[in-house]
Chain length 341, copies 4
């Protein structure tokens, strides 16, 4: 069998580990042949490929990023995109496709499957907000990077009697903030799932300053105050339509300073959360995802994506990926709240 | 309620995180009072205690070891030991006990519970070989430390065209070797559950030397060859005139040198696998274990231990801890074998 | 002798190592007695002290921050400040003072010395911009943290074909940018000492995109374009008079996007560069500084500060600290330029 | 000019950084051409080469090991070895040679230079025991790895009331032990330069056990007791019935147990000290060494090796490399002794 592999969406530590596992087992055990598609769906859309054999995947296990490149190209939104992909797969003699990506990438995979393409998905989201799987790879790495940063912030906060805010990833789900905050000993954790009361946050800050320690606040980029509080200053839009300035972390610092009279500073972790070498947990999870994905292809079990349930890697329907966002349940946030203040 | 806390058995990253969570929620939410028993069961046996309040647990979340100290004292094996403990608990006005430890510590807890002591257990084993729980804290830290070492060994092996062997913990179960080996890109992984064939190991080593890479072998301390193989004893000279001593790692190096004529060297990771700051995963798991344990006490749900199942923290019978060793199943080892050679 | 110790100015990994060395040798070898002054010059100014003995310094060697706290209080600028300090020292029976801090802190020390206070200085600047010493502690830690971040950014940049900008500390001197950029394999390094030409930067970015790698730009917070280029948008001032938004990193990203049409993103490392555990280099340097400082006190050699010259710790005049900023010499920047583009 | 490059002797983090700097500046600035010789002197001896251009050195800066491979082949000890090398250099049109290695490798370089070969040396020793240079690359990485391990051992030692011994590299010079021990807060440091008195070591161990901390002993592999002390041989049973094997670390543990009645355990760090990614310090130093070496070639300044003096990279005679071992001076050891016990 000749199998195409692609990685779509945002960078995530463990992508290369998936690719390696797919190829190692595909070639070594099942006797498959592979072709790499470049930059997510752009690859099959434009017929841009790269060689993908045992040699190509040697040494990539510990490396962040993806040797295949990535993009956010969405063939569904392009006129004739799906047909073009089917055409290119046929032209290249590609029998099946393994698509590694998040909600968007897997959504495309589902639509292609519905139109007869043999596809298996591997879920990828650093935000851990996918319902069908207990964890996604990349998340553990992101959390560890954030915790290392928070560990460092503690000593600075204490030495300077200053509140320090650490803004982490998480637009719609607060998993990174929750885990990093719990592991980092944060005094307050703010997540998108639960609009925060700025008065309560300031009360925690002030009560913390009464100890010999100083407050550390971990805030997901998508967290926001309850309605009516903190008139958020809109940042400027850059050439690509992204907000450049003044995320929630910075706004929170201003607000805390204004209300408590104490100094507050923000660190926005940004891209370092999603790059670099994956943790052991992510390497093992990504490797096992890859092994299961290629087995699904070998079994002719298409339209599926792989998932972690407990300690087992299972297969679920591709539509599971796009069904519903897995947000932080109230119970998990209450666990963290025990340590607030 | 006045609650005693103790930690028994070997050191494990996350012990302090459990203690902190127990005390923070016990004092802050339930209004409990605590007493720390020193050095595992030696504490209640000899009535040796230390203060355990909010101040005592500040700042300990990221710290390895246990502020309570540990020992392998087993009151069951001491004449009148159990009675002595009951006496000391009564004398100290201790209503309930939280025992954090492995098979031995929890076995004692079970027996005390059977004799009327109100006890809740928190499982601890760096080896991850406890059946009742998906993972135990400390394991993820140990695996990450081992992987960091293996990452380093790769470049040395390649530069010197040398086989490098990394001996990790695991007397009866090969979990650390399995996960560290998979995550570290080992060419062979040897675990206690499956006696190895030295000829096959040497074949992997030789085939690896034909690539531009060099072999890395991860071996659990309890791994052993199939019967009749490898007779080299501690202290013999190897093929290169070096004295070979000690454990399976060293013996394996000798045997590989003798059989393949290639240089082989061993690194025994030892204690560094169980000390120091826990990973984010272990800090979160240990914290959640602590929260659940103190809730069990509050609920009067004694004779239980806490456990991880999927993403949930649950309570199971204390006897689950001592029932059966969780060894590496054949299927998991076969996953790893895909990458051998 | 009874000796006061204080730490002033910004947080810096290694401060605790200095304090520990001073106290361990002072008490253990010379038989001194110590008093800790809180929060830099605020301590002796307001007579706020804390106990400082062998027990107080146990376990602090690996910890970031300063157990004495810090502030930017400047007694010179306070009416009667110097007199107040002399009064408080006399009242507390303090025979000599060890002041650990940067240009400001040591400038005050010099003025006090001129007015008869027995003082020895220990230089501290994470920016490494002090002329009298080859290196200052904290710098090596900051550089390593930045390099770890840059290592992570590489894989993201490549996977997304995106320019990534890493803004590091350095308002007046580009040492952190220079070393982190060289060690991190940056394609361009921008430092305050040399106004950059945005056209040349964009040329590097574009030439880099022609390889399979992507550009990483390391920029010191104080770097700026040659006059007339890049109309910097002034950020808003916060309650403490700091610029909140839109540092050079963000402006550079906008400019690169505008000029090259390629995506560019910025990570501002901020406070994580100055917190947390020091590297081995900084722990050894800080310890040796502490030992030399207490020996200077013991020798009655006041008005001096300790310094590293080659591999030796020497004593130089306190005025050396404030003489002249040690900026990056042209030759060092030219070394780095070899790797640009 | 066509320039050969080789790396000889033991693995050392930073070798690839040197190679990269040499090639980047050689090709990019001076217009040189390069050829890589494989496995140290074996390469030019057997005429085994590999391509070495800009592409070959991309991405190798952060990688441990050496892309050229290494060996301990010594052409001086091989009949006609030197002539063979000259022949192969001539045959390959190699105008000059850059030899990166330790005492042995540079000793050969010196002899070749004396026989008319145009050679420049780059010193490499993880042990830092080379007189002509303040530091060698690889040393800082080794020390940091050792310190990380020691940081981890502290918590285990304390939790178990156990002495922990960490054996580090250093056969003839105790630099790694000295720096790692100082930075790791060791209670005793034992180095080859100063035979130790086992009674004094045991006294430190016992005094440490009287605090709430536990003893950590850092010992260089080449350390040894004063004559007549410690007669335990490999393979004997220690006071706790464990088989004691091997190096000074293990023997020391036995002796301490026998004499103090306290448990003692040893960790031998071994190869992980010399593998893996270099620290920022080592990357910068190795890069600057490479730049200076290729400039020396360009200047026709042969028979030299590069060296660090203060913050400057200078050139000294190749014979400086082999003159005299740089051992730890008494004064530096006395600094460390302040913290013993």
């Amino acid at each position: 069998m000749r199998i195409g592999v692609l990685t779509g969406g945002g960078d995530c530590p463990g992508l290369n580990a998936v690719i390696r596992a797919v190829v190692r087992k595909g070639v070594g055990v099942h006797g498959h042949e592979f072709v790499g598609f470049r930059d997510g769906w752009r690859g099959p859309l434009e017929g841009e490929t790269m060689p993908l054999d045992i040699e190509a995947v040697r040494g990539i296990l510990p490396r962040g990023g993806t040797i295949l490149g990535s993009s956010r190209t969405n063939p569904i939104k392009i006129d004739g995109g799906v047909e073009k992909i089917k055409e290119n797969l046929a032209k290249g003699g590609v029998d099946a496709l393994i698509a590694i990506g998040g909600e968007d990438t897997l959504g495309v995979a589902k639509q292609l499957f519905d139109k007869g393409v043999k596809v298996v998905g591997v879920p990828k989201t650093i935000d851990n907000d996918l319902n069908a799987t207990d964890y996604t790879f990349g998340f553990d790495t992101a959390v560890n990077i954030a915790v290392e940063a928070i560990d460092r912030l503690h000593t600075t906060a204490e030495s300077h009697h200053r509140a320090l805010i650490c803004e982490v990833m998480g637009r719609h789900a607060g998993w990174i903030a929750l885990h990093a905050g719990m592991a980092g000993g944060a005094n307050v954790i703010l997540i998108p799932e639960k609009p925060f009361d700025i008065d309560r946050v300031c009360a925690y800050v002030e009560s913390r300053f009464k100890t010999k320690y100083a407050p550390i606040i971990v805030v997901a980029e998508g967290a926001h105050p309850v309605e009516g509080q903190m008139t958020l200053q809109a940042g400027e839009l850059d050439a690509f339509g992204h907000v450049r300035l003044g995320g929630i972390g910075e706004n929170l610092a201003s607000e805390i300073e204004k209300r408590t009279g104490k100094e507050a500073r923000t660190t926005v972790l940004g891209h370092i959360q999603r790059g670099g070498t994956p943790t052991a947990f992510d390497r093992v999870l990504a490797t096992r995802f890859g092994l299961q994905a290629i087995d699904a292809v070998q079994d002719g079990d298409f339209g599926k994506m792989v998932a972690l349930q407990g300690t087992e890697i299972v297969r679920v329907g591709l539509d599971e990926a796009t069904k519903e966002l897995k947000t932080v349940p109230a119970g998990r946030y209450e666990e963290a709240e025990v340590f607030f203040g």
